[in-house]
């Protein structure tokens, strides 16, 4: 066991546990979008930032990837953390305004506006789908492609992968609802319908022909 300071409290933690786990164990809420128990820590969404260290050497790190250290001083809700978290949420809202998860998080953190040009992306590239596919479903059917602004998630060459078993785990874990029902064109793999609130499947009389494996479909649920 190692001892560290968490928001001023002296707490004990198991060696090797991440700051996120320690904070959650002691009941300090830390929002996150790319973390899931059972999947490898990734540190992509930057929502779970906490401030470590003191004075001029203090810095922000993602708590899901940072292992607890003896004597470390951690603050999960310092003004710096809150300010940064709000900006991250504002950026998320600017890109994926339709995601219920993101809307709820933004509301909970008091983010009421976003000052960027509104985009309607369906993906925040958190990588949960790719990791669950690789690490839990042992399929490795989808993954990241490209870098920077061209980074995207998908199957190689945008063709439905042979190793995909249509298990639906990717959709289950998605916070922004990226990989959804494939409508009537399974080859396209991504329809994006669930996010539109008027997904094609609701009106489609060919629902049975679809490769929709959400049961019940999130969008249909809303309807």
């Amino acid at each position: 066991m190692i001892t560290l300071t968490l928001n001023g409290l002296t707490v004990e933690a198991e060696k090797g546990s991440t700051l996120l786990e320690v904070a959650q164990f002691y009941g300090f809420p830390i929002p996150t979008l790319c973390h899931m128990e059972g999947l490898s820590p990734y540190g992509a969404c930057r929502l779970c930032l906490v401030e470590i260290g003191e004075g001029a050497r203090s810095r922000l790190v993602s708590s899901c990837t940072y292992r607890a250290e003896e004597g470390l001083k951690v603050r999960t809700a310092s003004s710096r953390v809150v300010r940064t978290r709000k900006m991250v949420l504002e950026l998320l809202l600017g890109s994926c305004p339709q995601s219920k998860t993101i809307q709820d998080l933004a509301a909970a953190h008091g983010v009421r506006q976003q000052r960027f040009r509104q985009e309607y992306d369906d993906c925040i590239l958190c990588g949960l789908c790719a990791r669950i596919c690789e690490q839990q479903m042992m399929a490795n059917a989808i993954g990241f492609r490209g870098r920077g602004e061209k980074r995207s998630i998908g199957a190689p060459f945008d063709i439905k992968s042979d190793v995909c078993r249509l298990c639906g785990a990717c959709m289950y874990v998605c916070p922004a609802c990226e990989l959804r029902c494939t409508y009537t064109e399974p080859e396209k793999a991504i329809c994006g319908g669930c996010a539109n609130l008027s997904p094609p499947c609701v009106y489609a009389d060919k629902f049975d022909d679809m490769m929709c494996f959400m049961n019940p479909c999130v969008a249909c649920d809303i309807k």
Binding site: G43, A44, S62, T65, M87, L91, S95, R115, C126, E149
Partner: protein
């Protein structure tokens, strides 16, 4: 090849090589770095080889092909030994002469490097300031060895350090040596190298790795490439020593695929090192095993980040991960890995060779040694510069870099590539060290220094780096990926004129978040270009947003055609040029006159900002002679072809406005108000209207009848002119406002000369320049006699000198200027004209004392100057040389060191604030501190150009109109983009390219010096047409060819 089995054998090899190389050998060195190869070094090399063989000189002259020497601006160049001569930018045809001179132990005078300011030849290479001021520990070795052979390196003491480290040093001792040397990582962050090694060394019981990070991706930085190309063995030796220190047996060089020459040289060097037993098993018989592999990078910038680099070497996608664990704990395949930059590794043998103390003697206390910077951009000497850490930016940019390109002013340097920041000119005293740069908002990075001058738009620079980073971010962590995209998006909006002021705060906030919350070094420094330019150049951002102006004429959507954007009144210069090319002179006149009530005046005396920004001129040719074209049109078209458009507001005819001062600003304002229907009275203190146009500008530049004709045309039924009535003398602002004038526009100009502040300035024979010029121009009174001296270097000084030399009773005229002719602010053609007419120019002198006889000037004491440091204005400051005082007998001294506005004192009207010799106004609305009173022209700006005064006049008319109608005075700015379409004329195929610029004829100097007739003439019809066709027609990018233009063209018309 014999494998070296012991240190003794290495020493033996070294002795053998050295004994074979004569100390004073005859040698030609050709730089064949990538930069020099690109400009023809390979041809030079081939020609030299052939020549040596043909003349059977192979035994007498040795040819050495080396890597980069650093002076890339001068490529291709050769050096000869033992003369140490340096021949820059040579041609293959020069080779025979160089070889002949080398054989005769002489220099080829005309091929030698010449100092750009003094034109003196530099015989020895080390006399060249570029080399003399550097501290070339690493780069200095490149010129002495052939990188594809081992012998050169061994002769220079190569692998001696490795031998010593293997036999005499323990790993602890090596690390201690590095620590005492104060070596910090040269890759950017500046982490102490010894600490990193110590961490790696402490990991026990596992295999460890050494990595050389040669993934140099910063735009504009290439020092790592040069070291790998020019001296690969130094990196290999450094890595082997590192391996010994931390206990690693294998290493990787992670090198960019885009560096083929570096890869080739490195592969050759690795093979040679293995053959000689300097790599591999049992190195030099000591039992130490170490070998190096090459991994070629796939070309992503982020792979230079060490955690991403590790993943690349492992064979997966190059994405960084969160640290800790640091690579020294968990690196390649989870094993301890020590990653250092190329330059760091190249420094290691040097430290072992000279010892830590000697190495740490240069640099700063916290960081020893030298750093190589690649100095590129708008600078005279592009190249690699190695200086000791802590050298000031100023020294690198001005003394080594040679300062700005001709006629421009350095504004800032971007240090550290995309992750670095901009340091403005005012901070150039900053020492180049890790800590000071970071404090200033930049970072050392790998050492790229991009020099920017006033033709660089800082918003555009930030946008460029953001565009680079948004593509090169790996995209894994959200704030770096989306943050850089959003930063770019906002910057893009600003450069397109869609920005809002509150977005600047958003930029800062978002930049702070990206820097604070990203995972790796790329993201953490990604906002630096935005944050540092915002910090130092916020006014430039605001100018883009509020005034919709890009003062560097870079942002296309704000600039349109640069000639039009540069003109203070927005004259469509491209349009009249196009119309002249079509022969439509009357339409051309209308275009000119529409924005400018003084077309003939400006055709003669305008400082033609349009030509300074002309795309032809800024891209290496001569700009279109727009002023000469304007003169051509105004000379041959009758002004009556232009009928100004009047839109009278209802009731305007009953409202009266007072304009004080009948100069270009006042008259333009009166004209503008008249067009809107207001009744205006113009008050002029002198006896004739015209202001500076008549009292300051001599008749040989601006004939009086031309001026009079244009002034007369502006005095219409709405304008009353009252000469001989002065503010404070005959009326006050209060009396005007009480007397029924609803608004007052003050345009009194700047008619009071600055004083030198020397005793005796009131003596007879010493005149302020304005007094001297007014006496002649307004009253035909000649104040100068005998020997005349003029102090100053501006246009007023040159005007005064040229007037004086035309006056009777003047024997000679000399201009005394404290700097040199290059720094004189006067127009070049005016200086040229004055010198032709026999005016003498005495440079680098400052008057310090006046001596009279019978209360009349007899002698002036001067002190000589030399040019010192560069001041805030970008010009070198004159520094007096002690003991250089000397007296010059002079009968008349005209002081022309600048003008300022005469005080608008409380007597004339309360509430007008003055500061720095000008009335304080709001730049955008021209309002003074007093309601209903506006001010503009020289009175508000200090001495300025005619066209700026005209622009102020237009603005005053606009603002006063809004004021009288009770509207908001501020009008949001709009970019002035070309709107009208003018059909281009067909370019003749046999047209000469590049066509020379038309030159207006001038009267011969011997003739014109005796009278005040106009000096400059008009270009011919043919010249005008040819000149107008040179225009690149930047406007066509913004206008659309209307439907039916073809029919119009056939009909012979259709200018719109």
């Amino acid at each position: 090849m014999p494998r070296l089995r012991s240190i003794k054998e290495l020493q033996g090899l070294q002795r053998r090589i050295r004994s074979r190389l004569d100390q004073r050998e005859t040698l030609i060195t050709v730089c064949a770095g990538t930069a020099c190869q690109a400009c023809g070094a390979n041809d030079v090399q081939r020609v030299i080889k052939r020549r040596l063989i043909e003349r059977d000189l192979v035994d007498r002259i040795r040819l050495r092909i080396t890597g980069c020497h650093g002076f890339c601006e001068m490529g291709p160049f050769v050096m000869t030994e033992p003369q140490s001569a340096f021949y820059p930018k040579i041609d293959t045809r020069d080779v025979p002469r160089i070889i002949d001179a080398l054989l005769a132990d002489e220099y080829v005078e005309d091929l030698l490097y010449r100092d750009p300011t003094t034109d003196a030849a530099c015989y020895r290479r080390d006399d060249i300031p570029f080399f003399a001021k550097q501290h070339r520990t690493l780069l200095g070795k490149n010129q002495r060895l052939d990188p594809i052979r081992l012998f050169g390196y061994v002769a220079q003491g190569g692998y001696e350090s490795l031998g010593r480290a293997l036999t005499e040093y323990t790993p602890e001792r090596i690390i201690d040596e590095i620590r005492r040397a104060g070596l910090r990582g040269r890759g950017g962050a500046g982490f102490p190298t010894a600490e990193k090694w110590e961490m790696a060394r402490r990991q026990v019981g596992v295999e460890k790795y050494i990595v050389c990070n040669a993934d140099e991706g910063d735009p504009g930085a290439y020092m790592d490439r040069s070291i790998l190309e020019g001296n690969p063995h130094s990196v290999i030796e450094g890595m082997a020593i590192g391996g010994l220190a931390i206990g690693a047996t294998s290493g990787f060089v992670f090198v960019r695929q885009e560096y083929p020459l570096a890869v080739k040289h490195l592969l050759i060097a690795l093979r040679l090192a293995r053959e000689y037993g300097l790599l591999g098993t049992n190195i030099l018989g000591t039992g130490f095993d170490f070998d190096i592999d090459i991994v070629k990078s796939a070309g992503a910038f982020v792979c230079g980040e060490e955690t991403a680099l590790i993943r690349c070497i492992e064979g997966t996608v190059g994405e960084p991960r969160q640290k800790p664990p640091f690579p020294t704990e968990r690196g390649i395949s989870g094993r301890p890995t020590c990653i250092n930059n190329v330059e760091t590794w190249a420094n290691i043998p040097e430290i072992i060779a000279v010892g830590a103390e000697e190495f740490a003697r240069i640099g700063t206390p916290t960081s020893g040694g030298t750093k190589v910077f690649s100095v590129v951009g708008k600078i005279r000497n592009t190249g690699l510069v190695e200086v000791s850490i802590g050298t000031s930016i100023k020294e690198v940019v001005y003394e080594i870099g040679g300062g700005p390109l001709d006629g421009s002013k350095i504004k800032a340097v971007q240090i550290g590539g995309p992750s670095g920041g901009c340091i403005p000119h005012g901070e150039f005293d900053l020492p180049l060290s890790y800590d000071s740069l970071e404090k200033a908002g930049a970072m050392m990075g790998s050492g790229g220094m991009i020099v920017m001058d006033d033709d660089t738009c800082m918003v555009d620079v930030a946008k460029y780096f953001m565009s680079f980073l948004k593509q090169e971010s790996c995209g894994k962590c959200f704030t770096c990926r989306k943050g850089t995209q959003r930063l770019w998006e906002i910057l893009d909006d600003i450069t397109r004129g869609r920005g809002r002021l509150e977005q600047l705060d958003l930029l800062e906030e978002l930049g702070g978040t990206v820097a604070d919350s990203s995972m790796c070094g790329l993201g953490r420094s990604a906002a630096n270009p935005v944050l540092s330019t915002l910090r130092y150049f916020r006014d430039e951002y605001e100018r883009h947003i509020v005034d919709k102006r890009c003062d560097a004429y870079v942002c296309k959507e704000l600039t349109g055609a640069a000639c039009q954007a540069a003109c203070p009144v927005g004259t469509e210069a491209w349009r009249y040029a196009a119309l002249i090319a079509r022969g439509e002179y009357e339409e051309a006149y209308r275009v000119i006159r529409e924005r400018n009530p003084f077309p003939s005046v400006c055709a003669r005396v305008c400082d033609h900002k349009c030509e300074q920004q002309c795309l032809l001129g800024t891209t290496g040719q001569q700009p279109v002679a727009l002023r000469a074209l304007k003169r051509f049109v105004t000379d041959r078209v009758d002004p009556s072809v232009y009928e100004p458009q009047r839109h009278s507001e209802p009731g305007a005819a009953d409202r009266r406005v007072a304009v004080v001062g009948a100069g270009p600003a006042g008259l333009t304002a009166a004209h503008g108000l008249s067009l809107k229907g207001y009744r205006t009275t113009v008050f002029e203190a002198e006896s004739r209207p015209g202001g500076m146009l008549i009292s300051g500008i001599p008749a040989y530049r601006l004939p009086r009848r031309v001026l009079q004709k244009e002034i007369d045309a502006l005095i219409d039924e709405n304008v009353t002119l009252r000469c001989g009535t002065g503010l404070g003398r005959d009326f006050t602002i209060d009396s005007l406002l009480e007397g029924g004038y609803e608004a007052v526009f003050l345009a009194l100009g700047a008619h009071s000369s600055r004083r030198m502040g020397i005793d005796g300035e009131d003596m007879a024979g010493v005149y302020p320049s304005i007094e001297f010029l007014k006496a002649w121009n307004l009253r035909d009174e000649s104040l100068a006699s005998g020997k005349v001296g003029v102090i100053g270097g501006g246009n007023t000084a040159v005007d005064a000198a040229r007037v004086a030399i035309r006056q009777t009773g003047v024997s000679e005229v000399t201009i005394f200027y404290r700097r040199t002719r290059q720094e004189m602010p006067a127009y070049e053609e005016e200086i040229e004209g004055a010198l032709e007419e026999g005016v003498k120019l005495e440079q680098l002198v400052t008057p310090v004392g006046l001596f009279g006889k019978k209360r009349r000037l007899a002698e002036v004491q001067f002190v000589a100057n030399e040019l010192g440091e560069v001041d805030a204005g970008g010009r070198r400051r004159p520094v007096p040389k002690p003991g250089s005082e000397h007296r010059v007998p002079l009968d008349t001294l005209i002081v022309a060191i600048g003008e300022q506005a005469a005080s608008v004192g409380p007597k004339a009207g309360a509430g007008i604030e003055m500061a720095g010799g000008a009335v304080v106004v709001d730049e955008r609305t021209l309002t003074t501190k007093r309601p209903a009173v506006f001010a503009g022209g020289d009175l508000a700006t200090g001495p300025n150009t005619v066209i700026a005064a005209i622009a102020a006049g237009w603005r005053a008319a606009e603002v006063i109109d809004r004021y009288l109608r009770g509207r908001d005075l501020y009008q949001p700015a709009e970019p002035r983009l070309p709107r009208a379409y003018v059909e281009p004329v067909a370019v003749e195929e046999e047209a000469q390219f590049p066509a020379p610029r038309a030159k207006a004829p001038t009267a011969p100097a011997a003739q014109r010096v005796h009278n005040f007739d106009e000096v400059e003439g008009t270009v011919t019809v043919e010249d005008a047409a040819r000149e107008a066709r040179r225009c690149l027609r930047c406007d066509l990018e913004f206008t659309e060819r209307p439907q039916g233009a073809d029919e119009l063209r056939q009909a012979g018309g259709g200018s719109r």
